[in-house]
Symmetry: C2
Subunit: 314 residues, 2 copies
């Protein structure tokens, strides 16, 4: 375990996109902007702020342009947005996004259900994004959904993954996120996926995006660190969910991830105490308890008085 190293891990906050899009109640633009501003103030330097998908398909994010217009921009902070096609890219460029992120499902049936396209069609549509991003000088990242399993198909063919990564790579994209959309990632599945991608595309920078649907999200991070992956995507307070698993948690939780990384000797540039305050605000905004644990338990070495309570034995 490289648990005592002193390396830097990059965290991209995705709760503001992957989390807010899953909320049934519409979150106001003001609340979304306040959360993003607070995250940046806590030290996040990469935030997936929203998604320029069809407002008809995803009304929760129909306010994407307003959110982008109101967030306080800071030097060194990158606001990323999802873009599925040319139309999304035009809107993202107009909103002065720092990064455009493609997303294509590694499973045909999920791609069809989620995007109403085949994988090849999704690849072709993303190709139309490229000249727009280049014209505006906007960085591009690639994203894969259901990279570690599909709820309709099970394990996804590694060739699908390599085809999508290859398409991104051919467009000059070198930072690619692998999304565990419904929480099917396990250490061996992640290991074989990362190794296959590295083997064919050694210059690709891999980011891992885990959901904690089956409780093993941070166990997967431990395995990712062991593989030398130093970039993760996570959600403040554990926002996000999965329509297939009622009561299940969503994305891995940013503040719990930061706690684990700091304890293991990694740097993130993030102030954990501030982050916990943001998580508590997010709970108030969505109006229910969220899965994050650090915001409930508090820092590891925040000591109690022995007078406070008699513990249960054991």
């Amino acid at each position: 375990m490289s648990a005592t190293g002193s390396r830097f891990v990059t965290i991209t906050e995705v709760g503001t996109r992957d989390g807010f899009q899953a909320e049934k109640e519409q979150i106001s633009v003001a609340d979304k902007v306040a959360v993003i501003d607070a995250l940046i103030d806590a030290g996040l330097r990469s935030v997936e702020a929203t998604s320029f998908v069809s407002p008809r398909a995803l009304p929760q994010l129909a306010d994407a342009a307003d959110v982008m217009a109101q967030v306080q921009r800071k030097p060194g902070v990158k606001l990323a947005v999802l873009v599925p096609n040319a139309r999304g890219a035009e809107r993202a460029a107009a909103a002065k996004a720092d990064v455009m992120v493609g997303f294509i499902s590694a499973s045909e049936s999920h791609c069809k259900t989620n995007l109403n396209k085949t994988i090849d069609e999704a690849i072709a549509d993303f190709a139309q994004v490229v000249p727009i991003a280049n014209q505006w000088g906007i960085q591009m990242h690639g994203g894969l959904a259901t990279a570690f399993g599909c709820p309709f198909e099970g394990d996804v063919p590694i060739n699908n993954i390599l085809k999508i990564v290859g398409a991104y790579h051919a467009h000059g994209i070198r930072r690619i996120g692998f999304g565990d959309t419904t929480g099917m990632a396990t250490p061996p599945v992640v290991t074989r996926t990362v190794e296959a991608v590295r083997n064919k595309f050694p210059d690709v920078q891999i980011a891992l995006h885990f959901h904690n649907t089956r409780g093993v999200g941070l166990a997967n991070v431990m395995n990712g660190l062991q593989l030398g992956v130093l970039e993760y995507e996570s959600s403040i307070a554990g926002l996000g969910g999965c329509p297939f698993a009622p009561g299940a948690t969503g994305n891995i939780c940013t503040e719990d991830l930061v706690y684990l990384l700091h304890e293991c000797g990694y740097e993130t540039g993030i102030d954990l105490d501030k982050l916990i305050l943001v998580a508590k605000e997010v709970e108030k905004i969505v109006g229910r308890q969220l899965p994050g644990q650090m915001m409930k338990a508090g820092p590891r070495l925040k000591l109690m008085s022995t007078a406070s309570v008699r513990t249960a034995v054991g």
Copy 2:
């Protein structure tokens, strides 16, 4: 990561003790017995069934003898019970426990708060257990509370741990559980504790007992596996809690742990499908949602129909 090995990991279920003792509502003897019987039927071969502490101090477990009398005994299944002193040991022997487990806090202030003793006094009291266990031919295990941190003191002195382990060892005990009572374990803390114990007592079999209070319970298991520790204690459905962290989860969850281990190529002898059914029963018994994730999400490869629902994008 030794994630592709095919070794056997022993799991001791502790929810029936560590979990039920933390419930405010008294759980009936019939429900406790039904859960233990079902766990054994699912393949658990080591169950910490109850605790022979003072019924005045812990009324939730005042039914310890009744529970032990009614559980269906099976060859190869060991029912373990906590015993703090000679009086507890006499009761445990009368109840035909298979294993008596000592428990001593590694922190002076927690020992005082929890047991109303100094560590030295707790060690002396446990010494009175030994002849009783020997007389009845009952196996003994050692247990340490707050082994990875104390909510009153912070990090615990490694010398306290070595003193307690040394006392158990001198009594011939070779299986010792290290309890993360309030969820303060982190990979580096566990690594240095395991290494210090192994260095001084190479013949001690270490069992790790993690709580998920700060979300990193299964991350700690990944590190434990990396260290070669092949014995863990966990709670069905994630039963258990911590009086210092309202809303925080309790022990690591047995069925989530079994899922992780099986996916990583370890054997446990446990039927995960049956275990998930037990977890759902436990939720009904305590009358609230518990933290376990597998029982909500279902098996990784339980596939859905694409007709079921349109997923959120990403």
